[in-house]
């Protein structure tokens, strides 16, 4: 806990944005540890994969584009500090009205939670309550979240795939046919930096990537029984491909799964989720009511949750990859644009 505070304080203090990103990674690790000690394994799982992994990569991708040095500014902001302390003081005062930490009779624990805890093993038939609440009881909610992720993915693509104005539209499909000459133009300026014998990461990555994918599938389909599920599996799957893109190259990763396929996947899978809901409606139940999907309600729930989790998983994978590609590919776009400007 105190570690966490120390970490965050430094995040605030350091000027170099890159270091701040690293420390944010540490904070994320610590946070996930605290989540585990608070029994929230699923959350810790997600925080580990998302907070410490993907978000670090994203921040670094951004810093690669915008530069990592924060402007020196000696002045000490008094106004915000006053506001913060005031907010903190109010909240601190409010904690004395909070129920005792961890007491089983807290208001939070007495509304819907007992029903989830007691009924879900019989109603849904899967041991992981988080999964059953996520996919079944609060199916609408999750559908909304998936849509948010979908929208964010599309939004990032829209913002970052835009080309500079001075570029003509002659080379519209430049992304799909990478221009090797441009690439080498950049590469030659850097060739003094890299050395040629970076064999170790290549070999290790080659060894590990299949296992990562198998593990992601395990997390996906074991989510009913242990911690895991669509969100986590999606992130792990995306992480596998990101590792591939990092160690080998973005172009090779694009050859594995290109952007059009990603767009297609994002759209198709949101539709899959919705489709499960509509199928429930067509079969005589409510939207996202899985009981009617099979003759036995419990089996129906199983099927519904499986499909929905699959939908979530693929959406998350595709959205994360879309975001990653967009960030990393942006450098190429800028470079192409500037070279075109020079000509």
């Amino acid at each position: 806990m105190l570690l966490l505070i120390a970490g965050t304080m430094t995040v605030l203090m350091v000027r170099n944005l890159f270091v701040a990103t690293m420390l944010l990674g540490i904070v994320s690790f610590t946070m996930a540890l605290i989540f585990i000690s608070l029994d929230a394994v699923d959350v810790a799982f997600t925080e580990a994969a998302v907070g410490a992994g993907i978000s670090t990569v994203l921040y670094i991708g951004t810093l690669a584009l915008v530069g990592s040095q924060e402007k020196e500014r000696a002045k000490f902001a008094v106004g915000p500090l006053v506001i913060c302390v005031a907010v903190g003081a109010v909240l601190y005062y409010a904690t004395y009205d909070m129920p005792q930490f961890g007491h089983p009779d807290n208001p939070v624990q007495t509304h819907v939670a007992p029903r989830y805890i007691q009924e879900s093993p019989t109603e849904i038939g899967i041991p992981n309550m988080v999964t059953s609440v996520l996919a079944s009881y609060r199916g609408y909610d999750t559908f909304g979240e998936v849509t948010v992720i979908f929208t964010a993915g599309i939004g990032v693509l829209l913002i970052l795939r835009q080309r500079r104005r001075r570029r003509t539209d002659a080379n519209k499909d430049a992304k799909d046919t990478p221009l090797d000459t441009d690439r080498d133009g950049k590469g030659s300026s850097l060739s003094g930096l890299g050395s040629n014998h970076d064999l170790v990461p290549h070999v290790i990555a080659k060894l590990l990537i299949p296992f990562i994918f198998v593990f992601a599938l395990y997390v996906q389909f074991h989510g009913d029984f242990g911690p895991g599920g669509g969100f986590q599996a999606g992130v792990i799957f995306a992480a596998g491909i990101i590792l591939y893109a990092l160690v080998f190259s973005l172009d090779l990763a694009r050859a594995v799964i290109n952007e059009k396929a990603i767009l297609f996947l994002i759209c198709a899978v949101v539709l899959l989720y919705g489709g499960v809901g509509v199928a429930g409606m067509l079969l005589g139940g409510n939207f996202l009511d899985y009981n009617v999907l099979a003759s036995d309600p419990v089996a129906g729930q199983h099927l519904g949750i499986l499909l929905v989790e699959l939908g979530v998983g693929i959406t998350v994978t595709a959205a994360m990859l879309a975001i990653f590609y967009a960030f990393v590919g942006r450098a190429d776009l800028i470079e192409e644009a500037s070279q075109r400007g020079e000509k």
Partner: protein
Amino acid sequence: MELVLDIATWILLLAGSVLLVITGYGLLRLPDLYTRIHAGGMADTLATTLIFIGLALQSGFSLITVKLLLVIVFIFFTSPTSSYALAQASFVAGLKPKLDGFGAVKKPDEDA
């Protein structure tokens, strides 16, 4: 049999703990990056392996053991790899090992 396993676990975990603390101390006290990599990369791997083997002895033979072994293998592969990549990257970036006096330390932020 139980007792033997327990004692083995105790020894392994204790050794791991001691190594870990040494690692932390080394990270803090060693003079430059390349020596710190020894603390952060190698001792860590050994400590992880020791502790997880100790835990695996306690878990009986089940899925947990398999997972523990997987973690060991994973750490065994990735930790040296990232240490290697780190050392290589910093060397390429011009950070010289501290041999005797205080060498010129190049700020890595300025290149690239």
